[in-house]
């Protein structure tokens, strides 16, 4: 059984199948529906179908089977059942689809076509003939009929024109050889013979022919030729219809040429360009699509010749509404548009496209659009990355605790991060365009800052402001460290300055605390060292002496010697007491509140000290030259001041040079709130290269002097430093000593 046929039958479902042995006729479902048959009536013997089909059908089938013909079974029966309004003709076609072992046909199957007869009345034969004649005469296409030998049987007016003749009689009985060149005549003859032999029509054959017309130009003809049957259905010749398509053909050739040029051009253009056409209410299509569509949409230009749907299908689902909406609006308003959107391509995946298009009104209310589409994925990616970076950067800037801002050389803020805006108490962007003076910084400082900015640009190098103090509303000190770098604006290239200020208040505080504690630790360390010194040397010495003397005392028998020992024991004990007293003084002094300041007059205090030392000054004939302003008043601890002056003055007298009259020079002046005081003597002097490091240490003595305890300068230095001042010595041994002090 031919599979092809069976498939066709099944597909159409209007099939029938006749069992040769039983005479049962089975009908396809759609055929039953067509004939309004009940569902149950699928298979019955033909005799039972007789009310539907003509009885002769069975005869035809039997005849067909017996003829063992391999051709198709083709018969027409009249359909005119009594109880049915419809009438018409059933055209049966089929073939033997099954044979038994002896090659006898077992089953015939095929299709039925129903041709219902309309209600229109039929033309009479005469009318039909007239209609034919009229059509023939006015048909612009040429129609001709030929017999088996190719001789013209009939020809219409149009055909006559093509042949360049006027009278039909000139044509009848002649063949193409009489009108065309030999090659063409033979070719057409071959066509005709083929058609007659196969009984297959030749449709739409295009050929170029030379016709004896005025222009002598070859003409393009399209011809359809069919076999011509006689009343008995035998082939008796051919007939043909030809149309002169020269002008279409020429237009087509021109179009193809243009198309080629356009194609070649479009290959040079990276994107995809098109013309678009939309009829009123109809679907749009790309009347022209450049080769670029392959790259841009991964489509063939042919895909969109009739519909833009393949392009629409490529558009990203999130963008498709936006694109179509814009296109609709543009078509209505006839306005150009530009869009960026995403597409999903089978090969390249997601891409960004930019489309620019404009629309004009064409004939018959159609819309004609012109557009250009380019791939901007790279651009978009770069832009997005940029944008992403910019956002990140801004976020970083705004979360940074540092004040970050850019000012131009006129001192106007071009940019400020959140920390900076907050610091200057400006909301949002309102700082932009303002100057430091505008935001409440005092004029002098604003000018100084602007000068620094100018310097940065001038030198084209960065600048560090290690520490800058501001006072906030609550009166707290705020410290900032600022780095300024030249910054050229990307838009105008104008120089400006980027500043990054870091709050170092905490660090500064810590630094101060650290310094203070370092000082304290240093001082305490010194005191501790001195204390250890006392314990290990003095006390031990005294104790050692006492124990030595006591053991000697125990052995001594001479009363006189005992008394002598006792005297020395006493002295040792006294010295021990003195040491302990000194220690007390130092400890006492260290716990005194050093900040107990009062207004003091240096001159008055000097007078007081001189009074205390009167007897010494007189006995040693001391000259005191005083260069101290009488109105030098300052805040100081009076007890300390007295102690300092007394100690230094008495030292100056104590270590006088034995060979000359002691001269002591005192001088003082005030500078930056501090009193600078110096005392110079012309005494013994001291080798500072040797003893400088020990000068202010405890129990350091440098002169063989009965009264030197090595404690005075130690206390003096302690007192001065605890007030925040300083003391230093310079000396020429044997000549003079100067103590310079800053009393803070």
């Amino acid at each position: 059984m031919s599979k092809k046929l069976l498939k066709r039958i099944k597909n159409k479902k209007t099939f029938w199948s006749w069992d040769v042995t039983t005479g049962q006729m089975s009908l396809g479902e759609s055929l039953r529906e067509l004939l309004d048959l009940e569902e149950t009536r699928t298979s019955e013997s033909l005799r039972k179908w007789s009310s539907f089909f003509e009885e002769k059908l069975e005869g035809h089938l039997n005849e067909f089977v017996q003829s063992k013909s391999e051709a198709l079974f083709e018969r027409t029966t009249v359909y005119n059942p009594e109880d049915c309004e419809r009438e018409g003709v059933l055209v049966w076609s089929g073939e033997v689809v099954e044979y038994d072992k002896e090659e006898k046909p077992v089953r015939v199957a095929g299709q039925v076509e129903c041709r219902w007869r309309g209600n229109n009345r039929e033309f009479t034969m005469d009318e039909k003939a007239m209609l034919f004649e009229t059509i023939m005469e006015y048909l612009p296409d040429s129609v001709y009929f030929k017999d088996k030998e190719g001789k013209y049987l009939a020809i219409n007016e149009a055909a006559l024109g093509i042949l360049g003749l006027e009278e039909i009689s000139q044509v009848l009985g002649k063949t193409n050889i009489d009108f065309f060149d030999k090659a063409h005549a033979e070719a057409t003859r071959a066509d005709e013979q083929q058609i007659m032999k196969t009984e297959t029509p030749l449709v739409g054959k295009e050929e170029q022919v030379e016709i004896a017309d005025l222009s002598n130009n070859p003409r393009w003809i399209t011809t359809s030729k069919m076999p011509l049957y006689d009343m008995d259905g035998e082939v008796m010749g051919t007939f043909g219809i030809s149309r002169d398509i020269t002008s279409q053909k020429e237009a087509e050739i021109l179009l193809q040429k243009n198309d080629r040029i356009l194609k070649n051009l479009s290959r040079q253009v990276p994107g995809f360009f098109y013309t678009y056409q939309q009829t009123l209410g109809g679907n749009g299509r790309f009347s022209f699509a450049s080769e670029g569509i392959r790259d841009i949409y991964e489509l063939d230009p042919e895909d969109v010749k009739e519909t833009i749907q393949p392009v629409v299908d490529r558009i990203h689902e999130e963008d498709v509404e936006r694109v179509l909406g814009t296109m609709r609006k543009s078509a209505q308003a006839l306005e150009p548009w530009e869009l960026e959107f995403r597409v999903i391509l089978p090969e390249k995946g997601e891409r960004w496209l930019r489309e620019r298009a404009s629309a004009i009104k064409g004939p018959d209310d159609t819309i004609i659009g012109y557009g250009y589409v380019s791939d901007i994925t790279k651009e978009m990616k770069a832009y997005k990355e940029n944008e992403h970076l910019r956002r990140q950067f801004e976020a970083v800037l705004d979360t940074a605790p540092n004040l970050i801002f850019i000012k131009d050389l006129e001192g106007r803020y071009l940019m400020a991060n959140k920390a900076a805006s907050d610091f200057f108490e400006q909301k949002g962007d309102e700082i932009i365009g303002k100057t430091d003076i505008d935001i409440g910084i005092d004029e002098e400082k604003a000018r100084a800052l602007n000068e620094l900015d100018k310097e940065v640009v001038e030198k084209d190098s960065q600048l560090l402001i290690p520490a800058d103090k501001t006072i906030d509303k609550e009166g707290n000190e705020l410290w900032h460290q600022t780095i300024k770098v030249p910054f050229y604006r990307t838009d105008s290239g104008e120089p400006s300055v980027l500043s990054v200020a870091t709050n170092i208040t905490q660090r500064k505080k810590k630094e101060k605390e650290l310094n203070r504690s370092l000082d304290i630790i240093g001082q305490q360390n010194k005191r501790l060292t001195n204390f250890a010194h006392i314990v290990s040397h003095n006390l031990r010495n005294h104790a050692g002496n006492i124990s030595m003397l006591l053991s000697l005392y125990g052995m001594e028998e001479s009363e006189e010697e005992q008394q002598d020992l006792f005297k020395h024991l006493n002295a040792a004990s006294e010295r021990l007491n003195e040491s302990i007293a000194d220690l007390n003084e130092i400890i006492d002094q260290q716990y005194k509140f050093s900040n107990d300041r009062k207004r003091v007059n240096l001159s008055n205090y000097l007078s007081k000290i001189k009074e205390i030392l009167t007897s010494k000054i007189l006995s040693e004939n001391v000259v005191i030259k005083e260069n101290v302003p009488e109105d030098l008043n300052f805040d100081y601890n009076p007890v300390y001041l007295e102690s300092i002056l007394l100690n230094l003055l008495s030292n100056a007298i104590k270590y006088r040079h034995p060979d000359r009259r002691p001269v002591i020079e005192l001088s003082a002046y005030e500078e930056e709130g501090h009193v600078h005081f110096s005392i110079t003597d012309n005494g013994l002097g001291i080798d500072l290269d040797k003893y400088g490091g020990k000068l202010f240490g405890m129990y350091e003595t440098f002169h063989e002097n009965k009264n030197s305890k090595g404690i005075g300068l130690f206390i003096t230095k302690n007192q001065i430093e605890s007030m925040g001042g300083s003391i230093a010595a310079e000396s020429i041994p044997g000549k003079k000593t100067t103590f310079n002090m800053v009393l803070a």
Binding site: S536, G544, L552, A571
Partner: protein
């Protein structure tokens, strides 16, 4: 022990000097004692002794922490002085500055100059054993 020794004490602590001298006088009466309050006084005096051919000290008990010229400076000055005389002079450094565990350190600098480093305070017994 028959030979008379000249013992020189250099120390600014007069009570110590008194005590040490008394120990020597009481227990080693054959010895002579002289004392100085500083290195300066001692070296000057010894210079005079050499010039006038007086007997130089056989033993020097030297303190370290003294005004004007301390013990180390004295030792520095004594070095050339020793070379200029034939007298053998033993030096004992006796001072509260001396720490027994640091003796090696002192030795590096003063090994040939100093016989022994003794920390203060010293007992009469220590002094006795040192000088006999």
């Amino acid at each position: 022990m028959s030979s008379v020794k000249n013992i020189c004490i250099i120390d600014d602590d007069r009570i110590y000097t008194y005590g040490a001298s008394k120990v020597i006088k009481d227990y080693m009466p054959e010895n002579n004692v002289i004392s100085f309050e500083s290195g300066q006084a001692a070296i000057e005096s010894m210079g005079n002794m050499r010039q006038s051919d007086q007997e130089l000290p056989d033993v020097i008990l030297l303190d370290i922490n003294m005004p004007k010229m301390n013990g180390w400076d004295f030792l520095q000055k004594l070095k050339p002085f020793r070379k200029s005389v034939e007298k053998e002079m033993k030096v004992f450094v006796i001072s509260s500055y001396i720490k027994k565990h640091k003796e090696e350190l002192y030795r590096v600098e003063w090994d040939d100059q100093v016989s022994e480093f003794i920390p203060k305070p010293v007992t009469p017994d220590t002094l006795k054993s040192l000088l006999t």
